[in-house]
């Protein structure tokens, strides 16, 4: 009589088991990547410092509790905010009293020194406690967009690529661009000027 081999264990149900696990992980997976607007808060200070900034160097953006925007004392709109801020922050040389002062600095581009006139302009943003978060983010977005576009322009001029690519390719070079176009957005200490909360 021939010796019988031990029968193989059926692997047919293996697929079912794997499917079960697969479905479990499919359901529990959250693929969303967290993203958002990055900001740096100013370090805590005991008393507000009295840094005097000339009026022509400040661009004020106020948002009241009715979500209306006041730009340099006039009613502004989110649509024109980005281009207005860009115009303000773009260095104007020779000196133009309508725009912020400039400061002469040197940029170190690929080992060569380039003279550059950096704008001293600062965008000052203030909001009310009753302002809605949505508008606040939209204004923040436009301000960040203005700075990013100015950096892009400069990065393209000197390095031939947008700032984001430059940041990945050459961090030192990106620092030069950051030096020339700082993130000049300051948030005033919160106030209450919109009335009803």
């Amino acid at each position: 009589m021939a010796t019988r081999e031990t029968p193989e264990i059926s692997a047919g149900s293996m697929a079912d088991i794997a499917f079960l696990l697969l479905i479990f992980f499919l359901v529990t997976t959250t693929m969303d990547v967290d993203s958002g607007i990055m900001r740096k808060l100013p370090p805590p200070i005991d008393k507000p410092d009295d840094v005097k900034v000339k009026q022509r160097n400040i661009y004020t953006v106020l948002i009241n509790s009715a979500d209306m925007i006041l730009v340099n004392g006039e009613v502004g709109s989110i649509k024109t905010l980005r281009s207005d801020v860009k115009d303000f922050l773009r260095p104007h040389f020779p000196d133009n009293p309508k725009f912020p002062e400039t400061e002469a600095i040197e940029l170190d581009i690929n080992g060569k020194k380039f003279p550059y006139h950096k704008s001293k302009g600062v965008v000052s943003m203030q909001n009310d406690r009753g302002t809605s978060y949505k508008i606040y983010i939209h204004v923040q977005n436009e301000l960040a967009g203005a700075v990013r576009e100015l950096r892009d322009e400069l990065a393209k001029e000197y390095y031939g690529m947008p700032f984001k690519e430059l940041l990945e390719a050459d961090e030192e070079a990106a620092k030069q661009i950051q030096k020339a176009v700082p993130m000049a957005i300051s948030e005033a200490e919160p106030a209450d000027f919109g009335g009803n909360k």
Binding site: A18, T28, T30, V33, S35, L41, H138, K197
Partner: protein, 159 residues
């Protein structure tokens, strides 16, 4: 005749399913590796506002989320419909943020602590008052890197 000639009249052999488990396992491992389990149960409704100048948060272990929004429908009876802060799994007061941030920072390896980011997940309809309070508290806690969580797709021209 040829040794290999099939005996006629037989049915087509069934396609082997022996490699099916392997394929499924491959998919399984992919999802196992990419899965991030939801760490908290949301007690507030957060519908993030939209923006376009956004950056991705790379390492989730360095991010401490703070949720702000109205309590969910089921919880509104007990907690009202004012904007509230949620830390970990519970509602919290502004004063608890400092402890929360410190606790999160101590959980991070020392050389990475500088990269710690607080992600503010705030509902679009929330008021800035509570957000400002949170921001002031974060300054006191020296957690200065923050990220306003947003969705993609804002265009000022279309607003």
């Amino acid at each position: 005749m040829s040794k290999f000639k099939k005996e006629g009249g037989k049915k087509l052999p069934a396609i082997s399913t022996a490699s099916l488990p392997d394929i499924i396992f491959m998919l399984l491992f992919f999802f196992m590796v990419t899965t991030v389990m939801r760490e908290v149960e949301l007690k507030v409704t957060v519908k993030a506002p939209d923006a376009s100048e956004i950056q991705k948060l790379e390492d989730k272990s360095l991010v401490s989320p703070i949720y702000i929004g109205k309590p969910t429908k089921a919880l509104q009876k007990k907690w009202g419909d004012e904007d509230r802060i949620q830390l970990n799994d519970a509602f919290a007061e502004v004063s608890e943020i400092r402890g929360y941030v410190e606790e999160k920072i101590t959980g991070i390896a020392e050389y990475k602590r500088k990269k710690h980011i607080v992600s503010l997940k705030v509902d679009a309809d929330a008021k800035m008052g509570i957000v400002t309070d949170v921001k002031q508290e974060l300054r006191q806690a020296n957690a200065l890197k923050i990220n306003y969580s947003t969705r993609k797709g804002f265009n000022a021209d279309k607003n």
